[in-house]
C-alpha cells in the first residue's frame, strides 16, 4: 500500500452463480492517474468498474477510495452508488431525454440540495469546459452522439468528483470523433485533477489515454503496466496478441536441443536459424509445442540462407505501408514495411529476420 494510493481494490472477486467474472483482483490506482482496464468482452472489466461504482456487490474482497472503505464482503459493508460521489459516463450516454442539457447537468447538484446560485455557477462551469454553453437549453435529442456524450461528461464533472468512471464512453461515436474526445477527456482531467478508471476494448484508445493499463482475460488480471511496457514486454501470449498486430509460429523442441517449426498436423519442419534461441525455461519444457511471437513491423527481409525461409504469398499496397503475407513452413506470417523499403514480390522466396522475437508457452 503506497501513500499515493487513491482507489484500492483488495482481492476483489465477483461470482455470478458458477461463473467467476472477476477473480481476486488487486489494484492500486493513484490520485490523478488515468487507469485503463482493457480486454475482450466478458473479461470482467465492466463488472470491476460496476463494483467500484457500487452497482454490483462483491463476492469477496474490499474496495477503498481515498482511505475510506466503500465495499467489503468480509465486513458486510456497502456504500450505495449515490453516496460515493463519483462521476460516471456510460457507453450509451444515458442522457435523460425529458430534461434539457442544463437540467441534466444540474441534476446531481440539485439532488445534493446546493443553493441555486451555486448550481448555476457549477453548471455554467461544466458546460463551458465541455463547449456546451450555447446548447444549455436544448433538448439532448437535438444533439449528435458526440454532443450527448459531452452532456454526459459535463453531468459527471458537475460535482467535481475525485474519481471519474468511464465505461467505454467513446465506443458509440464515429472514429474521427472518438480521437478528438480522447484528448478532451485528457484535458479535462488535467484541469479538474480527478482520477480516471477507464474501461475499453480498444487497445489504441487505452494506449493513447492511460498512465497505466490493466489487461484482463476471463476475470483474471494478466498485466498491469505503462502502455509502453505493455507493448514492449507483454507477459504472455494473450497480452501480446491483444496489443497491436502479432504473428505466432508454432515451434517444437528437437532431441538435440534445436528448435523446429511445427505444422498443423504436428509434423516437424525446418530448423530455426541459430540466432533464434528460446529462453532456458522453455528449452527444457519437454516436447510440448510453444510459440515464437513477433510483430509485423519488427521483421526484416534478408538472405534466405541466414534467416527463416519463406515464400511471399501476397503483397498488398496499403498506402504508407506495404503488407506482405509470407508462408513459413505451413504457417502464415504478416510483415509490414514502409512504402519506400524494397521487398520481394509475390511468389518469390525470401528470408526473414525477427528483430524482437518473443517466446511464449
Amino acid at each position: 500500500m503506497t501513500e499515493m494510493s487513491h482507489v484500492r481494490l483488495v482481492n476483489v472477486t465477483k461470482r455470478f452463480g458458477a461463473v467467476t467474472a472477476v477473480d481476486s483482483l488487486n489494484l492500486d490506482i493513484e490520485k490523478g492517474e488515468c487507469f485503463s482496464m482493457l480486454g475482450p468482452s466478458g473479461c470482467g472489466k465492466t463488472t470491476t468498474l460496476r463494483m467500484v461504482a457500487g452497482f454490483e456487490d462483491l463476492s469477496e474482497g474490499e474496495i477503498h477510495v481515498g482511505g475510506r472503505l466503500i465495499s467489503s464482503r468480509e465486513k458486510n459493508w456497502y456504500l450505495p452508488p449515490e453516496k460515493r460521489d463519483f462521476g460516471m459516463v456510460f457507453q450509451a450516454f444515458a442522457v435523460w431525454p425529458h430534461m434539457t442539457v442544463y437540467e441534466n447537468v444540474a441534476f446531481p447538484l440539485r439532488v445534493r440540495r446546493l443553493p441555486a446560485s451555486e448550481v448555476e455557477r457549477r453548471v455554467r462551469d461544466a458546460l463551458s469546459s465541455t463547449n456546451l454553453l450555447s446548447a444549455a437549453n436544448d433538448s439532448p435529442s437535438d444533439l449528435s452522439g458526440g454532443g450527448k456524450q459531452r452532456v454526459a461528461l459535463a453531468r459527471a464533472l458537475a460535482i467535481n468528483p475525485d474519481v471519474m468512471l468511464l465505461d467505454e464512453p467513446l465506443s458509440s461515436l464515429d472514429p474521427h470523433l472518438r480521437e478528438e474526445m480522447r484528448f478532451e477527456i485528457r484535458d479535462l482531467q488535467r484541469r479538474y485533477g480527478f482520477s480516471i478508471i477507464y474501461v475499453t476494448h480498444d487497445q489504441a484508445e487505452a494506449m493513447a489515454l492511460s498512465d497505466r493499463i490493466l489487461v484482463m482475460k476471463l476475470g483474471v488480471a494478466q498485466q498491469i503496466d505503462t502502455p509502453l511496457a505493455v507493448y514492449n514486454s507483454p507477459v504472455n501470449r494473450f497480452v501480446f496478441s491483444f496489443i497491436g498486430l502479432s504473428n505466432f509460429l508454432n515451434v517444437v523442441r528437437g532431441e538435440g536441443g534445436g528448435v523446429f517449426l511445427r505444422d498443423e498436423e504436428g509434423n516437424r519442419g525446418d530448423a530455426l536459424p541459430p540466432d533464434l534461441t528460446p529462453p532456458a525455461s522453455l528449452r527444457n519444457s519437454g516436447d510440448k509445442p510453444f510459440s515464437l511471437a513477433s510483430r509485423p513491423s519488427e521483421i526484416d527481409f534478408c538472405d534466405g540462407e541466414t534467416g527463416l525461409r519463406g515464400i511471399v504469398s501476397r503483397k498488398s499496397f496499403l498506402g504508407e505501408i506495404v503488407d506482405y503475407q509470407v508462408k513459413v513452413g505451413g504457417q502464415e506470417m504478416r510483415i509490414q514495411k514502409a512504402r519506400r523499403a524494397p521487398g520481394p514480390d509475390a511468389g518469390k522466396a525470401c528470408g526473414l529476420r525477427l528483430l524482437r522475437p518473443f517466446w511464449y508457452e
Binding site: 452497482f55 453516496k83 462521476g87 456510460f90 444515458a94 431525454p97 425529458h98 460535482i159 468512471l165 458509440s172
Partner: protein
Amino acid sequence: MNVLNTRASSAPLSADAGVSGGPARTRQGRASSAPLSFRRSGFGVAQVILFLSIAILVVVVAVPVLLIFFNAFWVDGKFNVRDVLRIIGEPDTWQALVNSLVIAAGTTIGSTIVGTFFAWLVTRTDLPCKRLMKGLFLVPFMLPSFIGALAWKMLLSPRAGFINRFFMLHFGLAGPIFNIYSYAGIMLVEVMYLFPFVFIQVCGALERMDPTLEESARISGAGLFTITRKITIPLVLPSILSGALLIMLYSMAHFGTVAVLGIENGIFNIPTLIYQRIHQSAGSFASIRTGTVLATVLVVTATFIIWLQGKILSRGHYQIIGGKSFRPMELKLRALRMPLFIFCVAWIGFTIVLPTTVIFLVGGLRTYGLSFTWENLSLDNYKFILFNYKVTRDAIWNSVTLGLSAALITMFAGVMISYVIVKMKVRGKGFLEFLGMLPFSVPGSVIALGVILAWSGKYGVNLYNTVWIILVAYIARYMAFSLRANSAALEQVHDSLVEAARVCGASMWQALRDIVLPLVRPGMLAAFFLIFLPALRELTASIMLYAPTTRTIGVAIYTLNEDGETVMSAALAGIALIIIVTGQLLVDRFVGNKAKGQG
C-alpha cells in the same frame, strides 16, 4: 419515376440479358426503386387493388358511419343542429353521456394507478415470483369483462350475492356490505379487467428502458425514490398515458359491464342506452335518432382520444432503449416484501380465481339459490347446453363460424389494404389512408347501429335478422386490428428486399409471393388470432343485431342471464371461458414457436 423513364425500360428485365446496353439497364435499376409501381399501363393492377381497398373500407366502415351522421343531423330534408342539441339535452340521454364520462374517468384513473403500480412491482422490485406474477396479471386480458361482471353480480348483488348473504347471515348485518349495482361497483369491475392495458404498456417500457438512465441518476447522488419520481416515471409517462387513453376509449364505449350491473339501478351509459332504445322500440324513428346522436358523440370522443394518444406518443416518445445492459437495479422491499406479495396474490385471487370459480360452481347448480353442496352440483347443465339445448348449441356454432369467417376475411382484406398504404405509390392513396384511420375510432355499438341503418333494406339489401349482418359488423369492428398487425409486419419488409428479388429476375408477382408474403405471414397470423379470439366472445355489436336463431355466445350468456336463467348462463359462460383460455394458450404456443422459428 417518370413516363420517359418507364418507356425506356419497358422491356422486361429477365428478357433483355444480352440485348440492351449498360445505360438502359441503369435506368431500369432506378425505375424499380419506386417499388412495385404499376404506372406502365394506364389502368393497371395497382389501380384495381387501390379501388378494391377503398371499396371495402367505404362499404364496410365509411357508409355505416356516414349514415349515422346523416341520420343524426338530417331531419326532414334539412340539416338540423338544434334538434341534435335538444336530444342531447333530454334527461335520459344527458344522464347517459355523463355516466359514460364518469365511469370512464373513474375506471381510467383506477386502472392506471393499479396497472402502473403492479408494473413497477414486477419490473423494479424484488417481489417474489415476479415472472409468474407478471403472467397472472395479464390473465384478465383473456376474461371477457361481462362474464366478470356476471360473476360479481352473483357475489355482490345486494340481496342474493353470496358474499353479501354470507355477511348478513353470519354477522347479522342488516344490509349488504357492498352493492355491486352502483357506479363504484361498475368501475371496480371494469378496473379489474381493464388494468392490464396500462400494465402491459408500462411493463414493456420499463423492461426496454436503458438501465444506465437510472444508474447515471444514482451515481449522480439520487436515491431510489428520487430516481423513480424524477427519471423513471417521467420516462415511462407516455406509455402510462397511452395505456390510460386506451382504457378510457374502451370504457366509454363498453357495453357488457354496465349492461349487467347498471340496468338494475337505472344506470345507463351511451352504448347501453343505444341498445335499450333500439331494442325496446323496434326501430322507431325517434329511437333511431337518439341512437345516432349518441353514436355521433361516441365517435367524436373516440376520435379525440385517438388523436390525443397519437400526439402523446409522437411527442413524448423518447428513445430510451439502451445498448448493452445489465439487469436494472431492484428496489429491496424489505419489510414490505411479504405484505405486498400477499396483496398481489389476494388481488389475483379476488379478480381471477374467485369470479371464475363462482361461474363454474353456479353453472353446476340444479337451481340458482341452492347452496354449493355435492348433491346440488352436477355436470348436467354443461351437458345440456352442449348437446341438447338448441339456443346454446346454435350460439356456440354461430360464434365459431362467425369468428373464423370474420378473421379470415378481415385478415386478407387487411393485408391488401395495408400493402397499398405501406408499400405502394399510387395516386389516391391519401384517401385510403384516411379511410384506414376510421375503423380505429368506431366503437362496436356504433358499428352495430351503422350496419342496421345500411343493411336493413333501405338501400336494396336486407341482411337484418341474418348472420350476415353480424359478419359485416365483425369485419368493420376488427378491421383496425388487422390493419395494425399487417402494416407493422409490412413496415419491417424493407423495399430493398423486393428490389433485390427483382434484380435477380423475379417478376412483381414472384417477388410478392416468394419474398413479401413469407415475411408478412407472422403479421397475418397475428391478425387472424387477434380477431378470432375476441370475436368468439363479442357482445357489444352482436347484442344489437341478433335474431332468435343468430345468437352468439356472448348474446346467449347475456340473454339467458336477463331471462333469469342464471344457472344456464353461468354454465355457458364457463364453457366460453374454457374455449377462450384453451384458444389463447394454443395461440401462444403456436404463434410463439412460429416467431422463434423466424428469428
